[in-house]
């Protein structure tokens, strides 16, 4: 697993360069941005279908995105407020990033199954391993600042599985698998205990959010996992508890999110605590105020710390 240094603040913000999601699941693109594996037939324009979730341009005839598995032939589920439901992957939907092939099975507690060629590697937390074939090798990797992560209740190590062979992981809870193909250099911050698996070229680090400790975990410190793909496109799988929704914030646009519902965000999106309006029973509760630009993901099933 490649662990990369977190780029400086000034280099962030590339997430906003990703095209803004369109309102239709199918977008026909004429002849530009051809995917590498698309067969070129002379100079004729080829219709391709852009995935509304990851924006990958798929060859005609596909019913699910080859990079994130999202269905291409269903209407977009975007609420009037702008929240887009994460694509409910079809049973046995298969997609591929680099040499790693992934298949999602199950609807209640979904399972991600990987087919690894010789030399291919993915990594995940140990407890998410469901089954594996004999030939899949396992390597333990310790993460940086393991002590601080342990104190924060976060995993301090991951397991790297190497091909050839097949292996399956699951997060052991009801919800959805969120597939996030990572473009090179784009940083994605994820709440703790939501990471399911990532391809080898995705760097795994963490950042500390000041003043949000009591909001998000109620513990002495709060960390967000930070994932960034190196020079090639990477694959990141998250587990969202319940249903997952995503919204793209414009520059300076703000949204208040219940801290337990926060799932992921682009690195340019800032997080700051905002007190809930004073009143009986609220004590010192805070909202997480997220400020764009960038994507924000939330989950619908969480434990509210004041009602739990």
């Amino acid at each position: 697993m490649a662990v990369h240094a977190v780029p400086s603040r000034s280099t962030r913000g590339q997430g906003s360069n990703v095209p803004v999601a369109v309102g239709l699941a199918r977008l026909v693109v004429m002849g530009v941005g051809r995917p590498p594996h698309a067969e070129r037939r002379g100079a004729a324009a080829v219709e391709r279908i852009a995935c509304s979730w990851c924006h990958y341009e798929n060859e005609p005839g596909r019913t699910s995105c080859g990079t994130c598995g999202a269905p291409l032939d269903v209407a977009n589920a975007v609420s009037e407020s702008g929240w887009r439901a994460a694509p409910r992957l079809r049973e046995m939907a298969e997609f591929r990033v680099g040499n790693v092939t992934c298949q999602i099975a199950g609807q209640v507690v979904p399972v991600a199954e990987f087919t690894l060629a010789d030399g291919d590697t993915i990594y995940f937390e140990q407890h998410t391993l469901l089954w594996k074939e004999r030939t899949v090798s396992l390597t333990g990797k310790n993460l940086k600042s393991a002590g601080r992560r342990t104190i924060a209740g976060m995993p301090h190590s991951v397991i790297e599985a190497g091909g050839p062979g097949r292996i399956a992981v699951t997060r052991d809870a009801s919800g959805e698998v969120v597939v996030l193909p990572l473009h090179p250099g784009i940083e994605t911050d994820v709440r703790g205990h939501a990471f399911l698996a990532a391809s080898q070229n995705v760097g795994y680090d963490f950042i500390r959010i000041e003043k949000l400790a009591s909001m998000l975990h109620g513990g002495p410190g709060m960390y967000l996992d930070r994932f960034v793909a190196s020079d090639t496109q990477g694959l990141l799988l998250l587990h969202g508890y319940g249903n997952v929704f995503q919204r793209r914030l414009g520059v300076g646009e703000k949204i208040l999110v219940e801290p337990g519902g926060f799932l992921y965000k682009d690195a340019p999106v800032t997080v700051s605590p905002v007190p809930v309006q004073a009143g009986a029973g609220f004590r010192h509760a805070n909202w997480a105020e997220l400020t764009g630009p960038g994507r924000v993901g939330i989950q619908s099933m969480y434990v509210h710390r004041h009602s739990s």
Binding site: Q103, V108, T139, D172
Partner: protein
Amino acid sequence: MSEHPGLETYVCPYCRLSSDPSSPACPNCGAPVSTRELRDDEGWVEQPPIRDMARIQFGRSQCQIAGTYVPVAEMSLAPGEQVYFSHHVLLWADPGTQLAARQMAKGWDRRKAGMPLVMMEATGPGRIAVSDDEPGELIAVPLEGGQAIEVAEHHFLMATSAVSYEWLHTRTWWALGKGSNRELFYPRGRYVDRFTAQQRGLLLLHANGNAFIRDLRDDERIYLTPRALLYKDPKVYMNIHMERPASPRAHWKLIPMIRLTGPGRVAIQSQYGFEAESHYGWDELGPDGSWRNWNPDPSRWRPVIKEREPLYP
């Protein structure tokens, strides 16, 4: 799906019993007839969830499955017909249904294993409903006379009286210490429930999350996180297996797994309740236990780790 189109018979791929292809669901196990088989590249077939309000016939009685998130099995018991279940899964019962305790043998063993000591027995006529309390799937396993199935503990929901219930030692364990300090660990529980049909009967199980089944070929092996096992054919051999991930540091814990060897059918669940435990070594593995060390340089292990000679084939 029809095995003999001319005779218009339908063999359900999930319970393997013949039934009427014109019905929307298999009357023996409730699996939808019109659903295409969801088989992944690895050979696992997803057990299709029983559709809401699907009916399953057993004897003169009937079972109807309601709900899709935490499914409920509602039984309409014919006069004199009996089912038994653990009391904590009972959801409701008609006042006319006779409920009685059913004593189980080897009470001390069951208590040690954390299993219920007493089962509840319901006799018709009347209606009762049972349900587990976890999101998941209800799996109906019709058993022909003489057929048996081994179920991981805490997944049994209900069985008809024609199905006998016994429990066997899993033999998947490892031991630490010797003499009076010897401590045994059972990653998949101490016992596995074996259900054997004296005549045709019905067994209901609850899987947490989604359930997947796979038919292992002769001598085919699969390595599984222990708590994910749901049920298996008695012919499928199960033993303890340990894996040590390769690491430049020697403090990596062992990963306990179970090795399943075909032939036969195995079923797993996708929500298995992982329990974090520290496993650094063992003094003894259960029968035919195996292990694999992915470390290229075993000499860098900590000397306190106790392991036997490699048994991995």
